[in-house]
Amino acid sequence: MATKSDLPQGTLDLLILKVVALGPVHGYAIAQRLGQVSRHVVQVPQGSLYPALHRLENRGLLAGDWKETETGREAKFYRLTGKGRAQLETEAASWQRLTEAVALILKLSEGGAE
């Protein structure tokens, strides 16, 4: 399922996991948080958020519970499972490595051009 965001492939999952890792949170709040944190640099269409959440839940990385919000409405709160936490760590680490490597390469090529 192709995500319609401009995010690199697979990063949406990582971002969601990271946001959920901060504590149980419902879908709308995740959308808000992603919008704030990324300071509107990265466009996350809300439409692709929910399929991603359901996919992660399906893979057992997230678990959903129906709870009341502070306004008294019932909402589905997502939280990280043990498996999800492990996945977040490995993905975060590999993302780190990847970006470092990419940055290194970019620097090299700039150096070569000068």
């Binding site: 399922m1 709308y28 439409g47 692709s48 399929p51 359901h54 399906n58 129906w66 589905k76």
Partner: protein
């Protein structure tokens, strides 16, 4: 949550999804409103941001991973609905499949039971058979060699790889309680039950102490014999039974269905107690040896070990064991030449199934074409191609499976009658049952056929440009499907043709074989085995007197014309082949030509009505002390003496142990091996020699094998009770058993061919009917599609007969191609049949000549109805339709 869990809670999950979306929208709207945007606008912006709740929901459902299952469920319900809407189509398709699957399931069940199922013993794959082998032995004629008892004992004592058990097949008279009865008894070594890992039903098996000369005589009864003879009473253990004049104590009962080499023994006695001389010598090889591999040992190790022991024996006992080796093979069920017959029938049934599939495929295709608009509409609404293919396949799988379930039901009903109908006894018949393998087979067959016949319509369905279809209204675009339809009809006709011609060839073969002259007068002749009283067998003088007495008593029974005794009679399995030579310098054994030897009392040739060609028949003067004589048949006369007159010539027969013999007469050839098999038999030459000239040392052995033949002038079977009564002997323990009439035996010798003919006839009939339904369906459909066109033709002046001819021409084209392909197929099938069926001759051209018109006529008949329908099209109505 498991996927089925998710599937079951589908409704709840849908509600939750809806709730989650609503929550999101409400939150977003509320937030926007808080920023001062008016409610209407805020709601719209929230919706835009989310991007259409229905699409998001759809993607969430996809993410759930149970999509395929939900879709299949949907497809399944849709398929059921469409089938219910067209009950006629559904019934025809399901019944067709049920017949195809049912017939193949029955055949497969038989194949499975007889050929595929392992022997019914624990760890049957560890069981092996040990056979002897001598290079100059004619294995092809006589079968595999068994093992000498002393060799067996050596192996049993020394082998590290095998635990061995020996079995000796024997027969005798059981007497004591009630009517004396001839029984087959097996002398077994004490390990037979433990090697097979079979426990007795009652009592115990033999111990090592029982299995020695001089031990107390004990016996184990076969289950059926126990039921038959003692009514299954448990009290028989410890009581005694007389077998061949010797009293045995019954110590055990074998379990029900216990078989040794596919025959259930009546009685088992310990082999080690038998002190017969031939069991002490390494010369004769009477013992069947089976064994179990010890744990961790392989077949190769066992073979190596036995080869080594065999070569040691060859050095140690040069006289008997030179050139002798031993072969270890996995123990297989004894099914004789059934293997090829069964595969042949399974193949034939496969053709019927294929025709059934083709039939349903053409029906489905016809429907797919008329559903084109529906499918095009679905494509227009966004259905993917793969999705449509899947839906079509689901529909055909539902058809296939329903047909399959019904088919298995039919098979379960038909199985027992089919097995009972098998000519002779089907070996391992008790193993022929529906088991998981059969069910798996039926399931696979129905699913695969479902996909097979669903594939063509399915792949075709979305291939069209859907706008074009929608615009055309599904009427004028049938062109390309016509070729596919025709190819279905053609293949159905070709397959039906293969079966029809095969049935025809079998029928002609059977006709030809039954009109063959058996070489004797088979009418009004009764044959039966005869066991003399065990008491007289010890003394040769008493044996000869006893046989004389039997002949005289039988002759006195009213209705009996003449009577004789003989060791092997025609059309039965027994035979005695031996080498002969027309001069005194006889070559070594494996260079001698073979002939069938038959020991007879003087009247035999007369009783059987075997025609005399030259010289004389036997008479009472051909006895001990007289000139040694034989009567030979035409085949032997030709083989041994060419064209020269044979009477008065001499022949040497080293296997007889005496001779030479003077040829007293030449008689006609008798089809000893049965009407069908005799022409291809390896040994056809025959000679007869007088039982009265048999030396004393052979007399006892022969007397255990003799049969009695009786020519009557009333219905032969009506003589059985009086013969039985008359021949009971002085001690009342002489037995007259296994009674047959010669006519019955001659007819039984064709049972195999008759059975094949019947099955092929049924298959061919089914194939013909299915093919005709197929032709009718396809033509009716195709002409139905052409109604407007035909209307225009008629409006423009085409005559009804012209229109009819147009339709018939179309079907004639298909019939022609079908028959051409079918002829090639039938020719190939004929070659296979010739290999597998005795008495079948090369291509019977006449069966092509009879079957092609049958097929063409039936096919034309099936096309006639649609053609007539087309010729009666009313142009006004037809054009108004357009």
């Amino acid at each position: 949550m498991n996927w089925w869990h998710r599937l079951l809670r589908r409704k709840k999950m849908e509600e939750q999804l809806e709730k989650e979306m609503r929550f999101h929208l409400d939150q977003h709207t509320a937030e926007l409103m808080a920023q001062g945007i008016d409610p209407e606008k805020a709601r719209r912006r929230a919706r835009m941001a989310l991007g259409g709740p229905e699409r998001v929901k759809e993607e969430c459902r996809d993410a759930r991973g149970t999509r395929w299952l939900e879709d299949s469920w949907q497809d399944f319900r849709y398929a059921m609905r469409t089938l219910r809407q067209h009950p006629g189509f559904a019934v025809v398709a399901i019944l067709t499949m049920a017949i195809g699957v049912g017939a193949s399931t029955v055949m497969f069940t038989v194949v499975n039971g007889v050929l595929l199922r392992p022997l019914p013993y624990p760890e049957a794959d560890k069981l092996v058979a040990v056979n002897g082998h001598t290079d100059n032995f004619n294995t092809k004629l006589f079968g595999k060699q068994n093992v000498a008892y002393p060799d067996f004992l050596d192996f049993q004592r020394e082998s590290h790889a095998l635990t061995l058990a020996g079995i000796l097949f024997n027969g005798g008279t059981a007497s004591g309680a009630g009517e004396p009865e001839y029984v087959n008894f097996n002398e077994i070594s004490s390990d037979v039950f433990s090697v097979l890992r079979v426990a007795p039903a009652e009592g115990r098996t033999f111990s090592a102490e029982d299995d020695k000369p001089g031990a107390a005589p004990v016996m184990i009864l076969g289950y059926s014999f126990w039921q038959r003879h003692f009514g299954g009473k448990a009290g028989v253990l410890g009581s005694s039974l007389v077998l061949d004049g010797k009293s045995y104590t019954i110590v055990g009962i074998a379990p029900a269905g216990f078989r040794l080499y596919d025959s259930e023994p009546d009685i088992c006695t310990p082999l080690g107690q038998d002190t017969a001389k031939y069991l002490r010598s390494r010369g004769p090889h009477p013992v069947h040896v089976l064994a179990r591999l010890r744990s961790g040992r392989t077949l190769a190790e066992a073979q190596a070990e036995l080869s080594l022991m065999g070569s040691r024996l060859a050095v140690q006992y040069k006289d008997t064991n030179r050139d002798r080796s031993f072969v270890v093979e996995p123990l297989r069920p004894e099914v004789g030449d059934l293997r090829s017959t069964l595969w042949l029938l399974l193949g034939a049934v496969g053709l019927v199934l294929l025709i059934a599939c083709t039939n349903v495929a053409s029906l489905l295709l016809a429907r797919a074409v008329s559903r084109e608009r529906e499918l095009a509409m679905r494509v227009a609404l966004g259905a993917g191609r793969g999705r449509l293919v899947r839906q079509c396949l689901t529909e055909s799988a539902v058809l296939g499976l329903s047909g399959g379930v019904l088919g298995v039901g039919l098979a379960a009903l038909g199985l027992q009658p089919f097995v009972a109908f098998w000519p002779g006894a089907l070996p391992r018949a008790e193993e022929v049952q529906l088991d998981w393998r059969v069910l798996l087979f039926a399931l696979t067959v129905s699913l695969v056929s479902g996909f097979l016949f669903g594939l063509a319509p399915a792949l075709r369905a979305p291939a069209r440009e859907f706008e074009q279809v929608l615009r055309a209204g599904g009427r004028s675009v049938v062109g390309s499907s016509r070729r596919l339809h025709s190819s279905f009809v053609v293949s159905e006709l070709a397959l039906a043709m293969v079966l029809l011609v095969s049935a025809g060839m079998l029928g002609r073969t059977l006709l030809r074989l039954s009109s063959l002259d058996p070489g004797m007068n088979i009418q009004n002749v009764l044959v039966a085995h005869m066991a003399l009283s065990p008491g007289v067998l010890a003394d040769t003088g008493r044996i000869r007197a006893a046989w004389q007495d039997v002949l005289e008593r039988a002759r006195r029974v009213p209705g009996v014309e003449s009577v004789a005794i003989v060791d092997t009679f025609p059309m039965r399995e027994g035979f005695n082949a031996m080498g002969y030579w027309p001069t005194a310098d006889v070559p070594p054994e494996n260079k001698q030509p073979q002939a069938l030897a038959t020991s007879v009392s003087p009247e035999y040739l007369d009783v059987m009505g075997i025609p005399l060609r030259q010289g004389r028949l036997f008479n009472e003067q051909d006895r001990m002390g007289g000139e040694l004589v034989v009567v030979i048949d035409e085949v032997l006369a030709q083989q041994a003496f060419g064209g020269e007159p044979a009477v008065g010539k001499r022949v040497w027969m080293p296997d007889m142990g005496y001779g030479p013999f003077v040829v007293a007469g030449v008689v006609g050839h008798v089809r000893h091996w049965g009407l069908a098999a005799d022409d291809q038999a390896q040994v056809r030459a025959q000679f007869y020699y007088p039982f009265a000239q048999l030396p004393d040392k052979l007399l006892r052995r022969w007397s255990e094998l003799m049969s009695i033949v009786v020519r009557t002038n009333v219905r032969p079977l009506s003589e059985v009770p009086s013969l039985k009564r008359e021949l009971r002997g002085a001690a009342g323990d002489q037995v007259f058993y296994e009674v047959h009439t010669m006519e019955q035996l001659a007819s039984d010798s064709l049972a195999h061919q008759r059975f094949l003919l019947l099955l092929f006839g049924v298959f061919a009939g089914l194939a013909l009917v299915l093919a005709c339904i197929g032709i009718y369906g396809v033509l009716a459909y195709l002409t139905g599609q052409r109604v407007p066109e035909i209307g225009i033709r008629i409006a423009l002046g085409a005559s009804p007969s012209g229109v009819m001819w147009m339709v018939l021409r179309q079907s004639l084209g298909m019939i022609f191609v079908g028959v051409a392909l079918g002829t090639a197929g039938a020719w190939a099938a004929g070659r296979v049949l010739k290999q597998l069926v005795e008495g079948m001759q090369s291509m019977e051209i006449s069966s092509f000549a009879t079957m092609i018109p049958v097929l063409v006529f039936a096919a034309l008949l099936a096309s006639f109805l649609p053609a007539r329908h087309a010729s009666r099209v009313d142009p006004v109505i037809a054009l108004r339709q357009e």
